[in-house]
Symmetry: C2
Subunit: 342 residues, 2 copies
């Protein structure tokens, strides 16, 4: 079968690899019907992948093609969402809704389990990992449903951890797909003011459509000053940090109000969080890999009923052969998020 | 009047200073009936105070002796709790219960406002700052009521921020008065397991009396391993970090469970918090100067009804002349917490 392998920085190839196959009795194999390229895929695209070649892709919708002997809830032909992390669905962390800390879990897009930017993929702990969908494989809602595998659940996680609730002032740092989904999540949770920190015209249009009330395009100290101006000088109750760079975190710390919270969902590319300012201002900092599997129960009805349309973050669709150029387009900020139809 | 001034590391003196007096119309002056020495006073005791001499003491109960022309809710003769921070009681942060971020607020025990280890003290924003008590000035509950000025409210803050609730596994780092009050707070909020990390026999006895279910006296990696052994290998849901040293924070990070929370109430003497481990484990970190003024409403009834007895942390009482030796005794771990009767 064909799959996406990243060999080096800026070197993404579509290659023939061994067919995905059941390895353990709790596995399933899915035929990928939709996958996509993630903003987090751009970190290895720029900084270098796992040595020896990294199979890419951790977001997918697919059709169950084969199941191991111990898979109980899934049958061949079932359409499913594949969250970016696999999880057994039965450990204490899965029970508590933190599937990304599952004791037997792990992440797709690695040499161990392969990636979803491929024709097919083996799914560990299929019963716990996959979320069944009761729509057709070409349903018009497919883009929005696909975001439940990562970006919509991740934006929601940032908002939950940042304690967004009715009437709160919120800022979203990062205008990528996750940040845009963070705007949707903040609005959905009742935020009164939603400030998007971003500078790309196409993304700003979408942020406004999703519910952003203010846009701040300045960066660094200037951006911080602008947000403070817009919030009575004190900053916002909730910051959704959707980038992971040191600059983004510095901005987040600069615009959060005393007693406020920062929800981090960008993989951190910095080592330490300022311990003193956050203490004296009673700032809460949380977040991490979003347990998107657990959030689907809450988010899916809003997608099915059309209350939220996170699928609008996809502004380009490619087949497998188009994946390398899809990386380039996202890296050049030509595309917000690229959907893959293998 | 006589007051405690710290001149240098280990150099605490009782001196004659100008009488406390009204300076602004919103001020009051209290005659201090009870004060105490705080674990946080040992930081300047060891590392050096504010240059020029630092008036010490930020916890007190006292009798209102004089009020400014704009004080509306307090009269002469009223017995009051003086929280360690003053606050106007009317800004948006005070409204939200975060008095320690009051826009006009500040902290006692500084050259600007003086300290409570003294015969009397000027209280800025008296209406917002002081909390009236309806008991006599020598009531048997006085030690416990005095803890509402800092340590009991601070232990409670650590527990609230660390999200202690019914059935949770909790660890308390630090066996000083705040840590011991943290044990009371964790039990009061329904924790199932309360592990005290401490090594002083007298404090361990008290921790057990307050509700600690387990004691870990090992330190560093050995202590971390012991806590993990006691918690199924995963660590605790909630850590109350009641010290503020780098070692205490390292321990907190080592024993917190994925998805858990750390409530910091020890003034941090370290610069950065590990950004990556906390991210991948979805750890929440919060805390800061406790808004003890706001917590009195919740905690006072439990003190008055005898459900909690935080006053048991006091194991020595001195008059003003005994204050310098009180510092020494607390610093040498001869006393847990020293009460001052000026």
């Amino acid at each position: 079968m064909r799959a996406t392998i990243m060999h080096r920085s800026h070197d993404v190839r579509i290659e023939n690899v061994a067919d995905a196959a059941i390895k353990f009795p709790t596995d399933a194999v899915i035929r990928v019907t939709r996958a996509c390229i993630c903003g987090s895929d751009l970190w290895p695209y720029n900084d270098g992948p796992t040595p020896g070649g990294q199979p890419m892709g951790h977001e997918a919708i697919g059709i169950v093609e084969d199941v191991g002997s111990e898979v109980r809830t899934l049958k061949r032909g079932q359409l499913v969402v594949m969250p970016f992390a696999y999880s057994d669905g039965s450990c204490q962390f899965c029970d508590e809704g933190l599937n990304t800390s599952c004791v037997q879990g792990g992440f797709f897009g690695s040499p161990d389990v392969g990636g979803a930017q491929a024709e097919a993929l083996r799914i560990p702990y299929a019963d716990g990992t996959l979320y069944p969908l009761n729509v057709g494989p070409d349903d018009a809602l497919m883009p929005s449903l696909l975001t439940l595998s990562d970006v919509m659940g991740t934006g929601h996680h940032a908002a939950v951890v940042a304690r967004v609730s009715a009437g709160k002032r919120v800022a979203v740092v990062g205008d990528g797909a996750v940040g845009l989904c963070g705007v949707i999540a903040a609005k959905r949770l009742g935020a009164e003011q939603i400030i998007m920190l971003g500078r790309h015209a196409d993304r700003i249009v979408l942020a406004r459509a999703f519910g952003a009330t203010d846009i701040v395009s300045e960066r660094g100290d200037e951006g911080i000053a602008r947000v403070r101006d817009m919030t009575g000088g004190f900053g916002v109750h909730s910051v959704l940090e959707c980038v992971g760079s040191e600059g983004a975190m510095t901005t987040a710390l600069g615009i959060v109000r005393p007693g406020g919270a920062i929800g981090r969902v960008g993989v951190p590319h910095y080592d330490g969080i300022a311990a003193k300012q956050t203490f004296f201002d009673n700032i809460v900092i949380g977040g991490g890999p979003a347990p998107v599997r657990a959030y689907i129960d809450e988010l899916l009805p809003d997608v099915l009923e059309g209350h939220i349309e996170p699928g609008r973050v996809f502004d380009r669709t490619v087949d497998l052969d188009g994946v390398p150029d899809g990386y380039r387009a996202m890296n050049d900020r030509e595309a917000i998020k690229v959907m893959v139809r293998p």
